[in-house]
Symmetry: C2
Subunit: 221 residues, 2 copies
DNA sequence: AATACAATTTTCCAGATTGGACTAGATCGT
DNA sequence: ACGATCTAGTCCAATCTGGAAAATTGTATT
């Protein structure tokens, strides 16, 4: 009855988890919240367990250790975002790059609003070198950058995006969306901006598009 | 022999500090570094003392506690930045708002490059509500915002800055400068951008100005 | 230049919190 | 009802914070 895959004898694998899925989910949610507030070093496993409402040794059981939990939590955020992005982008044909850019900005902003951890966790890890940062770059950041960078260069050639380093422009756009959302608590107090409101998010999206994509989409010949 | 000021009997006050100034300076430098890396919660006073190369109870002696040390360190960053900003702005007359905006962007970028803590500490504190955030907003962020916001509105009226919420625009500009610098470790790995180099900083400044201040300064009548 | 005393530093401690290990028992899929 | 999976509860060594107490240093007065 043993399952054999790739020629290696696997363990019986007869049972599955049931309630544990809920526990893992609760732990992941709590971990995302905690890590995005206080960073990896600033977060204790007990804090995460408390937020999740479970006993803290369960972290060891389900995720081996704090490092692996961080990785699982981060993975979930980026995976979800990617799914949302791919789904949104699928609706716009390649022939309309400006419309695609708009949908990208709006999707990123929308997702960030609901999950500010997307940008906050990057910010935490960018504060000093670590293996976590390397992992983040290789597995999630670089792939996204490469793709968007390419399309940005294309849009510069047709005059939709201002000239200049496309790498810098990509990151400027990124922080104008995610970076502002990460600061939303401060923005509310300092500038009276409420990025939890749909209207202001839409206004920010419009502004980003107006500023960074000022050119008109050329008509096909 | 006691000194009397304001009618209240003061303590003798006969002695001054000498070497302690060095200790305080070392502690402040170390604190800025540590807090900007790991945030308030994520930083231990022992870590700060170790970085400073002094014994940790000296923090209690000189700054009372971790909270006060954070406040002193933050104060120093913003004070220094303000001095640099005022000095730079003093060279440009009020009649040339676009030139003033340029100098503002370049100064902010320059200072952030040498002291990324300026933006990083704000980001840490904006992750969840705290008295530290309130203090930061009231003492340093709000005053700066109010002033720049006003001049931004003026520049919109003469067509130098795109229309739209000036509050949003201010913060977009701010994160394009400080926010990118805060991410510089990641940017190097993901995008091949080195914000430690003078050239790339200048390139970023140019780009920010081109994107956010596209209009020409109108000639005086 | 000797002394006294405040300013500063060092040494040490108590109580709390950290990440992680371990075992016994409850629970769930089969 | 069996046995693997999951949870509760306990424990530990390391590290944390905030202080107290002792030792040292520098300065001002005599």
């Amino acid at each position: 009855m043993d399952v054999e895959i790739a020629g290696i004898a696997k363990k019986p694998e007869r049972k599955q988890q049931q309630r544990s899925i809920i526990t893992q989910q609760k732990l992941l949610d709590a971990a995302i919240q905690a890590f995005s507030e206080n960073g990896f070093k600033g977060t204790s496993t007990r804090d995460i367990a408390d937020r999740a409402g479970v006993h803290h040794p369960l972290i060891t059981y389900h995720f081996k250790n704090k490092e692996q939990l961080w990785r699982a939590a981060t993975d979930r955020i980026f995976r979800e975002f990617n799914i949302a992005l791919v789904k949104a982008m699928a609706e716009i044909p390649d022939e309309e790059p400006k419309a695609r850019a708009e949908i990208f900005v709006r999707t990123y902003l929308q997702y960030s609003r609901n999950q500010p951890a997307l940008h906050r966790i990057i910010l935490h890890e960018a504060n000093y070198p670590s293996e976590r940062l390397d992992w983040l770059v290789e597995n999630h950041l670089k792939p996204l950058f490469d793709e968007v960078h390419k399309s940005l260069v294309g849009m510069q050639q047709i005059g939709v995006v201002p000239a200049g380093s496309a790498a810098l422009l990509f990151n400027m756009i990124r922080v104008c969306a995610g970076g502002l959302v990460a600061l939303k608590l401060e923005l509310k107090q300092t500038s009276g901006i409420d990025l939890d409101s749909d209207e202001q998010i839409a206004e920010l999206a419009d502004l980003i598009i107006r500023v960074f994509f000022p050119g008109e989409q050329p008509k096909p010949a």
